[in-house]
Symmetry: C2
Subunit: 351 residues, 2 copies
Amino acid sequence: MRIAVDVMGGDHGCGVVVAGAKLALEASQDITELCLVGNENEIQFALRQCRLDDARVCVVPASEVLTMEDKPVLGLRKKKDCSILRAVELIKDGKADALVSPGNTGGVVAAATIRLRPLAGVDRPGIATVIPAPNNDFVLLDAGASVECRPLHLLHYAIMGSVYSQQILGYARPRVGILSVGTEDVKGNELTLEAFKLCRQVAAKIDLNFIGNVEGHDLFSNRVDVVVCDGFVGNVVLKTCESLATGMFGWLKQELTKTPLRKAGAFLAREAFRTIKRRMDPDAHGGAPLLGLNGHVVIAHGSAREQAIKNAIRMASESVQHRINEIISRQVAQAGELLAASAVVTAAAMA
Amino acid sequence: MRIAVDVMGGDHGCGVVVAGAKLALEASQDITELCLVGNENEIQFALRQCRLDDARVCVVPASEVLTMEDKPVLGLRKKKDCSILRAVELIKDGKADALVSPGNTGGVVAAATIRLRPLAGVDRPGIATVIPAPNNDFVLLDAGASVECRPLHLLHYAIMGSVYSQQILGYARPRVGILSVGTEDVKGNELTLEAFKLCRQVAAKIDLNFIGNVEGHDLFSNRVDVVVCDGFVGNVVLKTCESLATGMFGWLKQELTKTPLRKAGAFLAREAFRTIKRRMDPDAHGGAPLLGLNGHVVIAHGSAREQAIKNAIRMASESVQHRINEIISRQVAQAGELLAASAVVTAAAMA
């Protein structure tokens, strides 16, 4: 399979991304071609630096970079030759099967949505983020691609998240819930209440293990595997969790280094902290897929280092292998038919 | 001052609430009357049990209880003689200055809103929750009173939260931010973008230290003291934080008890864990005020024990002492005048 990597736009520059690509190539023979998209000189320099000399590598030049400071749509309009657009075009032109970018998230979403277009029947792509929890890692989506959603979008996110969880994370029958203010069916706002009805209506017939509403309390207590919400709520929840986890670790460190006794204790128990840190390592997944488009797109963290890039590339290639877009398409189409049929029945009943 | 306490409806029964009331009476001479509202027999029994014999105590009978399982509005319609309604009526009738209830949150919000009505100029009351963070405790509102909001409601929440933070938490100039998906002025959904404009327009003139948008990453890194959002987002964020903190402590405990070595380390460092646990203790604040109504209402956690009830009563009495409703009223009126004046100017300019 052929993977395009936007090597510009990450926080640590082109060299780190190319080095990550090298790790990915070493780890997988499934990759038949890996296109590095960006400034040609920088890429050639990086290739020499990390001694990457693999016949599967090709370089696709792009003279501009969409930076973290650029406004997505405006920036893309101005920078026609930016690496993210060039990388997306490789997919559009059938020259690549998947794309990884550690660039400006809004820019990747805009470029991919505009050029690749959503899958048939899907309106909005969604960013699926895997969040580590003590007993089960869960998928949260949308984590910020679409801040205003309609109920049907949430149904589609439920489908996308469920397929992703099954195919990539290996959950046999992921529990899918709508994030709300309480677990009862009647709890929620207009958006979630309507989305709840849609999910309930089609779930049994499209292999969606919809468990109803979940609330914040359920997230870290192994009660749900796919958490569905609009991109505003998802983005707030994701960043709040990152902030709280970092805050708590910092706080713990501060308290544990206050006295020699505590320091000694922390030293003895260090493996406990390391285990948790390892499990919570954002690099483990490397990136978050942007689901629902004609093409496989993985958004790596801007601060992604070599291992994270390698894992993001692995994730992209697994998405292609498991044909998750085909499965999502099929389920979205089935759901659409079921809803249309029930609308006909309702209309007939009311006539 | 006279405080009404709904002693029914908490998870631990009437006895715990009455015992908490005793602690509050012992701690404060400012309380001139404390009305215990609920089942008379149970209250008399609890008074004897905890040997509370104080001339300031009065018992107000109520034959019914709105349970956690009751639907708020429906339940209130059926149970006309329930303790929360009776307690609210004491405020409405001028027989109490403030109310504390550990009951069904939705029920307290509904009963208080229907009977007391919002302050002039205010549409929706908001629940203000104090969330402990490593370097500053911040106020989050609305934490769930109103799941669908309009921009003006968020402006009012900004005012309420700021006043509460100043008067009760002692922040001289609390930093007030709107919770959004990024800190830039243009980030957000329709609701937050409009609310942003309203806050920016009036902030300088009404003593509101509005710092603009904040995102999830800012919450636990001492960048904001009052976090404003609609009740849906607030409820999700609050419960997610509780879930993650509990999950992380549980996980830590699990890892720290896995080997004798780790156990020994944890024992040596135990004071570090205790310090954090103490600071994160939900009982420290005891309850969350329901702001924006004609009357001071504090909603205690359903699981509140004696200390939490005592602290909730203290919080209620401080709210009365600091006349926070008067200050909120004044600032809401000022903001309303400013917005009306600018609307006149805009209309004139467009004529």
